[in-house]
């Protein structure tokens, strides 16, 4: 009997923990409640007179946008009373697949045009609505104590090195392969550069943040990520090797409101906010190359 009760307890615990973990994985609502609590008294009074409808704007954004979009979400909430921005970060390919399968959302921000096109093809976004809002570059990262003794990009081909890349299905993984292709065509790297580097790869991660985390933990000697992934936090444990522009692939980030959004007006204003000077300044702060400047 006791063991029966125990197993029921265990089961409910299990369900509970499963519930918690999915919630944490799928959406990261920014703390609008605290924001509002901290708002000046005059605003609070106004709110009391004309209660605003509480609305949630669901934004699906590429994993590489985690830090910048979290800040953009908070700013947008501060400027739009009663609005909660629910952010869901994952590899663009995973988000595009979710949208393709009918997931409800208001805005989609992808790390490449390919997955925006896929969503357009699936009928979830109108082709004319997609706009480029930022560019990004690749960089090689390694743990601060440099266990692989990297001094230049050519060292990536050294035998015995442990490299982590993003999977080719993830935009950054595709760009990494393009960098290897370009380098192999360059005399200073040699034509077998790509093959040698790929022979050193120990894992193809399913999103760019997993690459950053495993390198900062020192689990591998080098990885290829976006410049913007070296956040202040990450910079404490990793160093970088720049990839020259002629070998680099410049990633294009498109954003669009979802066509059947229940909050079309909010979605449109969030997109314009990202493209505004204020939004672009936030993105620049995190290392993105601005789209509107060009």
């Amino acid at each position: 009997m006791r063991s029966k009760i125990l197993s029921i307890l265990m089961l409910s615990l299990l369900l509970l923990s499963a519930g918690c973990s999915t919630q944490a994985a799928t959406s990261v609502p920014t703390e609008v409640v605290e924001e509002q609590a901290a708002a000046p008294a005059t605003e609070a009074e106004e709110a009391a007179e004309a209660p605003v409808e509480a609305r949630t704007l669901t934004v699906l954004a590429a994993a590489s946008l985690t830090e910048s979009f979290t800040e953009l979400g908070l700013l947008f909430e501060a400027q739009n009373e009663g609005v909660t921005v629910a952010l869901s970060f994952a590899g663009s390919q995973a988000l595009a697949e979710q949208l393709g399968q009918g997931a409800a959302a208001d805005v989609f921000a992808s790390a490449n045009t390919k997955y925006m096109t896929a969503v357009v093809d699936a009928g979830r976004v109108n082709a004319d609505d997609a706009q480029t809002f930022a560019y990004n570059k690749l960089v090689v990262i390694y743990p601060k104590d440099n266990p692989g003794e990297l001094t230049q990009l050519q060292d990536l081909a050294k035998s015995g090195l442990m490299i982590i890349l993003a999977d080719e299905t993830v935009p950054v993984g595709k760009y990494s392969q393009e960098f290897l292709d370009k380098a192999s065509a360059d005399e200073s790297f040699g034509s077998d550069f790509k093959d040698n580097v790929l022979a050193n790869v120990v894992s193809f991660e399913d999103n760019v943040k997993a690459v950053v985390t495993k390198i900062s933990l020192g689990e591998a000697d080098a990885g290829i990520v976006y410049v913007t992934d070296i956040t202040a936090d990450a910079a404490e444990s990793i160093d970088k090797l720049d990839i020259p522009d002629e070998l680099n692939t410049i990633g294009t980030y498109p954003i669009a409101p979802v066509a059947d959004s229940q909050n079309a007006d909010l979605a449109a204003s969030f997109v314009s906010f990202v493209l505004s000077d204020e939004g672009q300044a936030v993105l620049a702060k995190y290392g993105f190359v601005n789209a509107t400047a060009e």
Partner: protein, 282 residues
Amino acid sequence: MIETEKRTLAQSLNNTAWSKQAWKLLSMPMLLFLAIPILAIFVRNSPRELLQNLNERQVTQAISLSLATSSVTTLLTLIFGTPVAYLLGTHKFKGYHIVDTLIDIPTVLPPSVAGVALLMAFGRRGLVGALLAEKGITIPFTFIAVVMAQFFIASPLYVRSATVGFAGIEKELKQAAALDGANRWQVFRYIVLPLSGNALLSGGVMTWARALGEFGATIIFAGNFPGRTQTMPLAIYIGFEIELNVALTLSIILICFSFLTLILVKGFLHKRLDIGIDLVND
């Protein structure tokens, strides 16, 4: 007197029949909820496509890697789990509940937590991993890492089942055998093992099936490399994002494996287990 008894009996029988129907009806929502997704996976894939996908390199690699790792995991579980199960099943000692709880923890823990924990322990900078790294041994991103992740998550299922099996053997039987001159090993080999065999076997099958399905701990601790650490669940996850057909094919295979496992454990093994108990009672 007898008349009334008969009537109430008939009534209660009637009641039972009625309540059975009611319970069946009330059970439908949950049963449908469980059955529909499983059926949906089969509907989406034509048999010909399925066979075509089976020839794809990524699919075959994932299948063989999954079979290899989960079999090694099961073997290691039999070797290292049996002593623990015997200890828990036949002895009471100080700290029993601590050991007992420790065995249950992995079944309650989200696998992603297990993956992070394994990385903290056996990663290159980990508690134990740092010592190994000094000797030139790195575990993450290898076949061994996949097995370790599976062992952590799946081995408790075997230990649980085996503990019950060992605990069910009457002390007198072992004592009688010992009186007849059997040594400790002979008692274990000829009394304990045959009587608990079905519990061990069904536990082993459950561990094997759980290992086959392990995902969260594997992708964190062992990474994702086709042919080396990309097991079926990982290939489904990665494949889901590019080629839905690959994911569907592997899903169907895993569903079939799960069914086979349950049929084996529930039907065949438990039947034999029942017979085993009858024999003991005789």
